[in-house]
Amino acid sequence: MAVKSVLSRVALASAIVTATTGVFASGAGSQQAIVKIDGSSTVFPVTEKVAEDFQKSPAAKGAKVTLGISGTGGGFRKFCNGETDISNASRPILEKEMKACAEKGIKYVEIPIAYDALTVVIHPQNNWAETMTVAQLKTIWEPAAQGKITRWNQVNPSWPNAPLALFGAGADSGTFDYFTEAIVGKAKQSRSDFTGSEDDNVLVQGVSRNRNALGFFGLAYYEANKGRLKAVKIVNPKTGQAVAPSNKTVIDGSYLPLSRPIFIYVKADSMKRPEVKAFAEFYIKNGAKAADAVKYVPLPASDYAKAMERFQKGQLGTAFGGKEEIGIKIADTWNRKLVD
């Protein structure tokens, strides 16, 4: 029967391929010079731009860059296991991760590369909450608000009696951690009855379709959707001035407390390889350009110069002691002692 012969031929072919695969699969990997990077999906767009430009530039000498998006946590796990050369991180390395790295003898250089401004957004037709204070935001987002604060006029009596529709980052993301720490006072303390999403575009959709919506996400998503959203001016707790998020206000430190630095961590051992060294230096030199291109806020030039200094001197460890910090200007952290 034709069926039998086809089947037997296919079976024979499969058997041969499987056997030879087994024999050859134990061979060595690629011979190319590759810089392996993994980590936060927030930092990904910046690193991608830099990687792309690097590969085209003469400094690369044919080296290639690969990028994963396992998340900041997943990225650190691989990094501290020695699997990646550079880790993208939307927050400083935490104590638990520092321990894991120390156990495996992985040392690193911490390099801040840009700011991400967390933008609070409302519907364009929302003309009552164009300016908000941290205290008002706290009233809305703190755990005690769950099930109780459900209408705008409960926060400020002069606001309309309309239902409050909340949108925000999921509880596993660095964005969420930072927002809650900055607004409520402690990381992860928040009401849980809001619409969370992995995909900030989905939050954009949600807020832009609902007059009574309030949401928060990274500046880049606001900038790309300016036509359908309105950014809320946050009253700076120190100066009392209402500040709208923008490159300028983040760099000069007036948009507080919602601007957060994002980092890359470079493995000390990998720095000995020419391609990794070339890439890291290229990153610091072109970080401003890349951040701008993907709508993140570049650091001031002086910070990049300090970063280059730190890298070239090979100063290992983190300036944040394994903890998150709110409302920090990177310029203030250069003189800190680095902890391993």
Binding site: K4, F24, A25, E198, N201
Partner: protein, 306 residues
């Protein structure tokens, strides 16, 4: 007697009516399914087709939406599916044959059967976590095409096993007995008599399994599929002996659904068009793969008559 004749006619008409109603219902269901499929594909196509071009198919990903392309993702998907098919099909069919024809029907066999259907319900990300520990670290296969293919093979194995078993079950035992009566051994009976008849249904299971595998994202990210890679795995063909290389199995890679997911999450609206275009290509790939299997099934089935 006459009264009952009228009664019988009425009865027949009533039953024919319900039969016709059901036929319409069946047609409606098919229509709904086809309309949904068309709506889906149309929605993708309207956004994505304008973006399709040779450049899109042959460029690497980029942070500039207009220059970005799916070459690495396309090649990655093709290679991973190849490995998945070669791993899952033989093992799945062999398992099914053993469990259905050879295993003694005791409580252990029941346990294994329940176990296989249970595996079909394990979320794909758990397979990813398992594969990370097993293939990536324990077997030292690294973040490679081979690991991905084996992970997806594990994922679709239950589907292949269950459909193989059902396919073998549906072959009437008269055939088996006839084969034995001619003096065939068990394997001869299975290979020459049962499998040809069951191969059509087995192919159905393979189609459904592979279709699922091609669209998976989460387990592959867990085992280290990349999102940005601007070079291809080494070619399987070399210019000197032995002319065939399997280095591509150990190489890093990315796949289409991951690329799509990444683009869809970007703020710039141009990336949404890219994602739609990638979606169109992915659907086309699935159609191609399904088409091949369906053609094979059609050829097998043509030669079979109960």
């Amino acid at each position: 007697m006459q009264g009952s004749l009228v009664g019988v006619q009425g009865n027949i008409q009533r039953r024919q009516f319900w039969s016709a109603v059901f036929a319409i219902a069946g047609l409606l269901v098919l229509l709904v399914a086809i309309i949904v499929l068309l709506a889906l594909i149309l929605q993708l196509a309207i956004q994505g087709v304008p973006r399709l071009s040779w450049a899109f198919l042959t460029s690497f990903p980029s942070s500039n939406a207009e220059q970005a392309g799916i070459l690495s993702a396309l090649v990655g998907t093709g290679l991973v599916m190849l490995v998945t098919a070669f791993a899952a099909i033989p093992v799945g069919i062999a398992s099914g044959i053993y469990l259905e024809e050879y295993a003694r029907k005791n409580w252990i066999a029941s346990l294994i059967e329940i176990n296989v259907t249970n595996l079909a319900g394990v979320p794909s990300i758990v397979y990813g976590l398992l594969a990370m520990g097993l293939f990536k670290y324990a077997f030292q296969l690294g973040e490679s095409v081979l690991t991905a293919g084996l992970t997806l093979a594990l994922l679709i194995l239950p589907v292949v096993i269950v459909t193989t078993r059902e396919a073998l079950r549906s072959v009437p035992s008269g055939l088996r007995e006839a084969a034995y009566a001619l003096g065939a051994s068990k394997w001869q009976m299975v290979w020459d008599h049962i499998l040809p008849y069951a191969s059509g249904s087995i192919l159905t299971g393979i189609i459904i399994g592979l279709s699922r595998a091609i669209g998976e994202t989460a387990p592959l990210i867990t085992i280290g599929a990349l999102t940005f890679i601007s070079f291809l795995p080494p070619s399987p063909f070399k210019s000197d002996f032995p002319f065939l290389s399997f280095d591509w199995l150990r190489s890093p890679f990315t796949v289409m659904p991951i690329q799509m997911f990444n683009w869809v999450s970007r703020p710039e609206p141009e990336f949404q068009l890219n994602a739609a275009a990638a979606g169109v290509i992915l659907v086309a790939l699935t159609l191609l793969m399904n088409g091949l299997a369906i053609y094979l099934r059609y050829r097998f089935r043509k030669g079979v008559k109960w």
